[in-house]
Structures are given as structure tokens and as C-alpha cells.
Symmetry: C2
Amino acid sequence: MAEHDAARAERDFLAAYDPRAFAPIAVTVDIVALTLRAGRLDVLAVRRGEQPFAGRWALPGGFVRAGRESLDEAAARELAEETGLDAAALGRVHLEQLGSYGSPARDPRMHVVSVAYLAFAPGLPEARPGGDAAGAGWLPVEAIAEAIAAAEQPDTVRVRPPQQGRRSGTYGGGTGRRPLPGEQPGERPGDLPAGPGEQAAGQGPPGAGGLAFDHGRILADGLERARAKIEYTPLATAFLGETFTISELRAVYETVWGAPLHAGNFHRKVLSVHGFVEPTGETGSRPGSRGGPRARLYRAGRARLLHPALLRPDREAGPR
Amino acid sequence: MAEHDAARAERDFLAAYDPRAFAPIAVTVDIVALTLRAGRLDVLAVRRGEQPFAGRWALPGGFVRAGRESLDEAAARELAEETGLDAAALGRVHLEQLGSYGSPARDPRMHVVSVAYLAFAPGLPEARPGGDAAGAGWLPVEAIAEAIAAAEQPDTVRVRPPQQGRRSGTYGGGTGRRPLPGEQPGERPGDLPAGPGEQAAGQGPPGAGGLAFDHGRILADGLERARAKIEYTPLATAFLGETFTISELRAVYETVWGAPLHAGNFHRKVLSVHGFVEPTGETGSRPGSRGGPRARLYRAGRARLLHPALLRPDREAGPR
DNA sequence: TTAATAGTGTCTGTTAGACATTATAGG
DNA sequence: CCTATAATGTCTAACAGACACTATTAA
């Protein structure tokens, strides 16, 4: 290491002398912004106006302003620019780092390291349509499932035999709604608390038929993170407004997980996890209902972690 | 977004034309390499020979070679350089991305984005001592607990009231060993499946009394990730040799978590999780034992995920 | 009235954890 | 013999999930 450390210090010194003479690596942030609109999981995307991948959808993002902002700040800025949200509305958005992608081949022009972020937002307005650039909008996640599947092809992904996991159903099997037909269940081998890894970034046909660059993989990683995250944290509430009903919260889980949940068990479970939700004392009016009593309203509680967690149904166990 | 997208494409073009005229941000990888030596959790560190932070310990790392390697490859290369391991030995090491840190102030010389990696390794040999640089070595994690605590000070960390969580003990309370006196339990509010976030990176007294730069915070994030990771994955076996006894595996958990576990319950639990370990049919000779039957030997199983998980004791629930 | 929903109650199988017990080895 | 450990057994409380039931509203 010693020789290396010295060499590093040396290069550091040179870099400090003239940064532009060094480090021809660009740093960007890309955002996987998820929202629920009309019972569908949508991701924010922009249509590229320039080569490469001109005309293709891509995740919103941009360069980090060197010396002027942190990665978190860059991500928040890009998200604000892309959605047109003001600081107040942005305060309600959950934003967390997802992982970094830095294969030399992921951008054909130069070596670009992208730090990906994951955002959960309540139903947001239409994205700001493009001026002269091609445009922006919310895309149904299932509509680009093929892109995800394509990006999932390469090596690192272990193909799992279609054996049954041991946990057959969670709160599940009953009244379920919104089966999300297009969505293919469990595309990722569920490396849940792990970092995304970036072994296969830039591999395979880049964005074959789907998102530009390796954004298909980034989206897949973001979705898996989202699905895992709402198991252990109350962040599902970040997809909802200030107050919500238990049914609306259940719809979030069903949409993100792509699986129906048992209404009764879910209801009791949510209320039993302390700090997840707290009652407002009011009842909602629920437009678009097809009957039934008015549901009570809740708001997000103070817990940052759910104990016990709300585990997903169909998690595959090891061979049993 | 449109205007922004156009601007981005423009800059992309310029960057492609002359990369050196753009992006004065350096990209490095830093490694949190953990190993178990003599029942202690050690982290690989190098002593800096140059300013800033000359003479201080830092995480091993270095610049990503632009256009020539991915982030994963850079991390593996740096780890190999620092430990002197060959490719074969490195194959037994688990290496995963931890998160990226990019506050403009985290390095006083220029804007440096560091992509941190986390490594689990079985008892490794002494690190290669420095040539002319100050040196390298394995540091007991608890010895730099103060540095972690210092880096944990700033804003983002929520101070938790000392109330009791509801899960009072896991496999626990019994015969426990190695109480890790210096280790302060639960320094991180346990945002487990989250990315580390980097809000406070570079905040506070940089490396006050501890590691250089924001490496104290990176180490803290790595430790939390490690503690969470062995709950859901069989990666605790990455700290051990090819074969091991259940007791040795328990020692890994006790050391990483810093809490004693109940031997009997742990034993039964591990064997009940399918694909965690598989018996070799042999029994070990266990030098240094103080009596008792010879334990059976196991090797790591094929499962990549533990179901059900081995949850840590003392995880705090929401207010109960 | 019918259908759909909110919210509760009850039952069963599984699991975590406390605790006890037996067997095997070293000093 | 004494002590420490390996490995297994037993008991209890908690929990997940299945299922049933009531009450309330829209159409």
C-alpha cells in the first residue's frame, strides 16, 4: 500500500494544483422518482433529444456542480428541476441514495460515474414538458418491464428455479385488488439490504428496447430497494398525502409489491405496529367508493423503523 | 426540465470533445474492510503520510482509473494492493458497494466523490506495511469508536430516548462471551436497508480525533451495514474459513453485533434456516478449548438470503 | 336490496426466546 | 471430580395468515 499511498498523495497534490489536468471522469446524479398515480406505479423519465440514445427515455439527472453542492443537494436540485416542485413540496418527498454506477462503457462518450437516487413522492403533477428537449413525463413502471428484464439478462443475475418459497402468502390471498398483470414478480433475487452492486452495468445491449444507458438496471435496482424499504420502514406513507386511510396505505403496498394483500389482516397488522400510523380522529369521504362505511383517517407516525416488519409475500427461501 | 435537458446534452457534447475541459471532480474508491482477528473486529486502515491529515489513519482507497475500470474493479484492485492478497484469496472476500460521499468540503483540496465499499474477509495476514508512506494495518474497531461517535454528532442523527425496545433479547442473555466493553451499542438509528445517505458528510470537525476526512462516518455506515447484512444473509460465513463450527459462527455474530447470544437457541436456529450451513460430516479438533465435546464442522450453504432472518437483539421498536 | 368495503374476532401453525437436560471432553 | 461446552428438548408468548362475521354505505 505504501508505494500506492505515496503515489496517491502525489496525485492529490497535482490535482490540487490544477484540477482540470486530472480526473477525466464526470459525475452525475440520476433519479429514480416513483409516485402513485391512479393506482399505478409511475417513474419519472425524460426523453433524450441528443445522441446517444436520442429519442429514448432516460432517468432524469445531470452533472454534479463541482465544488458547489453535495450529491444529496445535486439530487434534490435535479428532482426539483424535473418536477417543477418548490422547496415546500419537495420537503414531503423522500430522497435517498441508491448506489453508484461507474462502468467505463456505460456512456459511449466518456467515463461517467452516476450516483443514483431513489425518491418516493405522493401523486405529483405532470412533469414539466420539454421546451426544445424532447420532453418529460411519468411512465408506468410495468410499461418498461421489458427493459428491466433485458437489463437483468447478463451474467450476475442468478436464475432461480421456479420452486415455491416457503412463505406462501402474507395477509394474502383474499380480497386483493390490482393484480398488476404486466408486472413480473420477483425479477430480482432480492439482495435486499445490499448495495445494488454494479458488476453488470453497461453490459448487454445498452438499454435494449428500453431506457437509455444502464438506466434499466438502475430502475430495477430502485424498484427492488423500494419494495424492500417499505417492509422495514413506514416510507409507504411517503406515497400518500398528509392523511390517508388504511385502505389507501394497503393500495400502496399492493401496487409496489404487485401482489394482493388480505384487507383484514393488513388492517390489524398496521395498527399493531407502534408508531407506523396515528389516528387523526376524522373519517374520510372517499370519492370513487363503491359502498361501505367511511374509513377513519390516519397520518404517518413517528417510527422510522417498523417492528415487526411487514414482510412481503412470496419471498423465496433457500431450498427447502 | 427541458431547458435543463438541452443544457445537459450540450455539456455532454463538450465533455466528449475534451474531457479535461470539464468535470473537475475526482472519483475515488474507499474500502471498509472488516475481518475478525483473535475474536476482535478489525478494520483495514492506512496511515497518511501527506497533508491533509498527515499522520492520521484513513480508510484504504485510491483514484478510479478513468476509462479503464469499473467501480467494482477499482475497489477490488485497491483491496488487493492494500492487503497483498492474490486473486485466489480475493475470491473468498465478499465485496459490495456501500455508498457514495460527495460533499464539496470533505476534501480540502478539491471536490472528491468517494464511492465506498464494504468488504468481509476471513482472518487476513498483516497488511503490507508502508514503504515510505506511513504504513498500514488492522485497527480494532472499538479503538476508533470515539471517532465514530464524533462523526455521528451532527444534525441528521436523531437522538433516541433510552427507552427499552420490545424485543428484549435474541437467543440471548445466557452464556455470552466477549461483551466488547468499548463498543457503544446502537450508535446508528438503524436505517437498515437504506443507503447510507451523505447529508452530514464533511460536517463537524473533520475526523476529529479519529479517521481522516469523513472516513469515520463511512466506517460507521459500513459497520451498520455489516450488522444489518448478517441478519438477512449468510455473509457471516465470509469471516470464517472454508469449514467452521456453529460456535465459531456464533462468535462472528457476537463480535459484529457486540452482544452475547444464547448458545443453544443460536445453534438450533442456524440449523433450521435452510441453506445457511451444511454439515461436512467431520468434527473439529478445536485448539484452545477448555473442554467439552468436539463440535461438528459445517460449510456455507447455497442460500443467498436467510429465511427467516436472524434478527439482532435490542432492535428498538417504536414507542411501545 | 345488493354489493362492496371497514373494522373485529377467532383459530391454527410457526417462531423466538427462556430454560432445562444430557453427553463429551480438558484440567 | 469439576467445569465448560455441544447438542437437543420443552415450554410459553408472540405473530402471521386463514377465515368468519358485523356494520355501514353507494348504487
